[in-house]
Symmetry: C2
Subunit: 142 residues, 2 copies
DNA sequence: TCAACTCTGATAATCACTCTCATGTTCGCC
DNA sequence: GGCGAACATGAGAGTGATTATCAGAGTTGA
């Protein structure tokens, strides 16, 4: 199968640059907005397209929020890892969890599941925002 | 705060009933479609509204798919638990993971995060669908 | 039965995201 | 440096899931 070559464009570079300057997960629209504010002229469709491509290629991480919005972040770790995200400010800590990987694999095997993949993210309040009463205190699991 | 009372309606009952008869995660639209097929006359908005209310009340579990769609399921376990879901047929196994809970709590504490919550779901191919080469069918059809 | 008060549902609206396709860029090649 | 084919861009239309509207129907306690 012939994989079409990926070209370097001003826009792609600008998006990577914008991602590099932020430390939290952002939606495509937020990233687009920020770029416009920074003087870049990039189309929204282009931002979506590139983020998607980068996510597919593993250059950026994607998370899907509770309301179905995709948020992106350029992570320091290139391999498989998880996130600890602040609900208030989006501040993110990356971490690895070999025990969890093992656990997931074992549970899957016990039930005869194969080709296993999993998601695990932790949400909470970072030190900066702990103690700040977040009016919405309903934390339903799952 | 005064919480308005929840009334029993034919529709609410029918939705719970429909949920009770299925074993996999389904989208609101799929559930609505199934109910119509079963002869129920229920509005789509009503299905959405009730599923949301039930999810908030913990009577049903919600998952958000990669493409941002919310899928619902009435789980056997009422407390906090996780899911092992087949990518092909949606077949779901519930399980508990105390070790993972502990791990999540510890990681959060190490970084000074409080009010911690987390998500963890495992996706794979159930015994029935293992081995079946799912080239293009990577989407959770159903 | 009656009068709240809630729930329903057809439809319009919203919102994130994708598609279209004419035009702009990139890059290997001379 | 210039060419050209193939890929990328972007403005706007389209899509699909979900939510808001709001008048009328259903439910409930008294």
């Amino acid at each position: 199968m012939m994989v079409s070559m990926q070209r370097n464009t001003r826009q792609r570079t600008a998006i990577l640059d914008a991602l590099g300057r932020q430390d939290d997960f952002r939606s495509a629209q937020q990233i687009h907005e920020q770029m416009r504010a920074d003087g870049e002229t990039v189309g929204l469709a282009t931002v979506y397209r590139n983020l998607q491509t980068m996510a597919h290629g593993g250059q950026v991480d994607v998370l899907v929020t509770d309301d179905g919005e995709s948020i992106y972040r350029q992570c320091a770790q290139s391999g498989h890892h998880h996130h600890l995200v602040c609900r208030e400010c989006g501040r993110t800590v990356e971490f690895q969890a070999p025990q969890v990987e093992d656990w997931a694999r074992r549970v899957a095997r016990e039930h005869g599941f194969t080709d296993v993949d999993h998601t695990m993210e932790i949400f909470g309040l970072c030190p900066e925002h702990s103690g700040a009463p977040s009016d919405d205190a309903s934390s339903s699991g799952a």
